[in-house]
Symmetry: none
Subunit: 136 residues, 4 copies
DNA sequence: GTGGTCTAGACCACT
DNA sequence: GTGGTCTAGACCACG
C-alpha cells in the first residue's frame, strides 16, 4: 500500500491522484473516513507537512470534507465523485488528442491506434511504444 | 513564429517540444540547420542560456548535432526521426490508456470515447472534458 | 578537501570525476548524502550553478539521486557503483591500448612497459615519460 | 583517407595527432613532403584555416619544417621523431596509470589487467570494458 | 534549507 | 559568428 514516487511530479500531487483514484474506483466510497495526516504520513514514509498539503488541496476541490474533532471524510455527494471522474477522463483525453495531433497523426489513425492497442493489451500486459499505424 | 509559454512547465522543455514537433511534422527536415542560440533567444525574447539548455538536451537525445563553429543541425539520420515520432506517440498512448484504466473505464469504452471525441472534434475545435460514455 | 582545477577541462567535469572517484574508492558509499549545491560551491569557491550542472550530469548517469527538499544521495544500488568502476577502468584501458597500438608498439611490449613503470613507480613517485622499452 | 572527427576535441588537434601518427608509424618518413594546406583541407573537407593552424602547431613542436617556396616537410632529424614517439607513449602511460590508481586499483592488478586485455585482443578485435580483475 | 529554473552578462576556443 | 563554459544573483516549489 505504498507509492513509488516519480521525482518529476510533486509528491503531494501524486498522493492527491492516489486518493482520487481510490475514490473514483470505489476503494474509498462517498462518506468514508480518510486516514489521518499522521497515519498516512507514517504509512507512506513522508513528511506530515506534505500530507497536510495534499488534504488542503483535496478540500479546496471539495473532494474531501473536514469534520472538526472527527477527522476527514470523502465528500458525501455522489454527484461530486462522478464529476471528478469525468474531469479526470476529460483531461486525459484532451492531452492525448492534442498531443497526437501535434505529431501530425490524422484523427482517423488515432482511433485505429487506440483500437489496436486495446486489442493487443488483452494478451500482453506490457505495451511498448508500438501503436499501430504510427508510420507515415 | 513565437511560443506562448505555459508557466508551469520549464521554458526549455517547451522549446524542446516545439522543435521536436517541427522535426516530426517535417517543418524541419533531416540535416536542416537550426537557428543559432542567439538568434532563437532574440526571436523568442528569452535568455540565450535557456535556449542553450534546450539544445543541450536535444543533443543528448541525438535529435540535433553540433558542428563546431558552424552551427547546429537536425540529425541527418532519417530513421532517428521516425524513432522519435514513434516514441512520442507511444508515450502519449501509454499515459492515456493507463490513466483511463486507473479510472476504471473498460477498454471497450475507451475506444468509443476516442472515436466520439474525434467525430465531435471535426465541427467544434474546443473540446471540454465531455468525452462520450464516461458515465457509468 | 579542495580541488586544483586544470584550466583545460571544464570545472564541472572535474568535479564529476572528483565525486565519482570518491564513490568508486569508497569515500562516499551507496546511499550517502552528498553535500548540497550551495555547500559544495562555497567549499570549492565556485559558482553554485557550476556545481548544479555537475550534479545534473551525475544524475543523468544515475550515479546520484535527488530527494526533493531533502538533498542528493549516492545511488543506493551497489551494483551501479561496480558498473561505474568497471566502465571507468575499461575506458582508460581502451584509450591506452589503442593509443599505444597507433604508435606501432607491439602488444607484447605494451605489457612490459606497464610492468616496468609499475615497478619503478614504487620508489620514485614522479614518472616522466620514460616508459621502458619504447625504443625500437 | 579521411578522419571521423570527435566533437569534443578541437579538429586541429585531431589532425595534429593524425599526422604525428603517420610520422611515428613510418607512413610519413623523415624529410618527406607534407600535403599543402589547400590539398589537405580539400581532402578532409574542412576549413583551410584549421589546417593552417595545425601546421603552425606542428612547426612550433619542430615536427614539421617549412621550406619557403617549396612546401612543408617532416623534420629531417630522425632523433626528433623518436623523441615524439617516446613523449606520446609516456603521456599515454602516465594518464593510464594515474587513472587506474585513482580508481583504487592496485599496481599489481593493473599489470594483470593489461596482460589479460592484450591476450584477449588477439582473438576478438572489440574490447568491451571488461578488463580482468577489476572486481574487488 | 534544498534543488530547479531563469536572467544577465562575460570570456574563450573554434571555424 | 558559433557554441561551451562560467559567474552572479534572483525567484520559486518542495519538504
Amino acid at each position: 500500500m505504498s507509492i513509488e514516487f516519480d521525482n518529476n511530479l510533486p509528491i503531494y500531487l501524486q498522493i492527491m491522484q492516489y486518493i482520487k483514484r481510490q475514490i473514483v474506483t470505489g476503494t474509498l466510497k462517498a462518506g468514508d473516513k480518510i486516514p489521518s495526516v499522521r497515519e498516512l504520513a507514517a504509512e507512506l514514509q513522508i513528511n506530515p507537512n506534505t500530507v497536510q498539503r495534499t488534504f488542503q488541496e483535496l478540500e479546496r476541490e471539495e473532494v474531501v470534507e473536514t469534520k472538526r474533532g472527527l477527522g476527514r471524510y470523502v465528500t458525501s455527494e455522489e454527484s461530486k465523485i462522478m464529476t471528478i471522474k469525468k474531469e479526470m477522463a476529460g483531461e486525459l483525453l484532451e492531452r492525448f488528442l492534442t498531443g497526437m495531433q501535434e505529431l501530425g497523426i490524422k484523427e482517423h489513425d488515432i482511433v485505429n491506434i487506440v483500437a489496436d492497442a486495446v486489442a493487443e493489451g488483452k494478451q500482453s500486459s506490457h505495451r511498448d511504444g508500438r501503436g499501430g499505424t504510427v508510420n507515415e
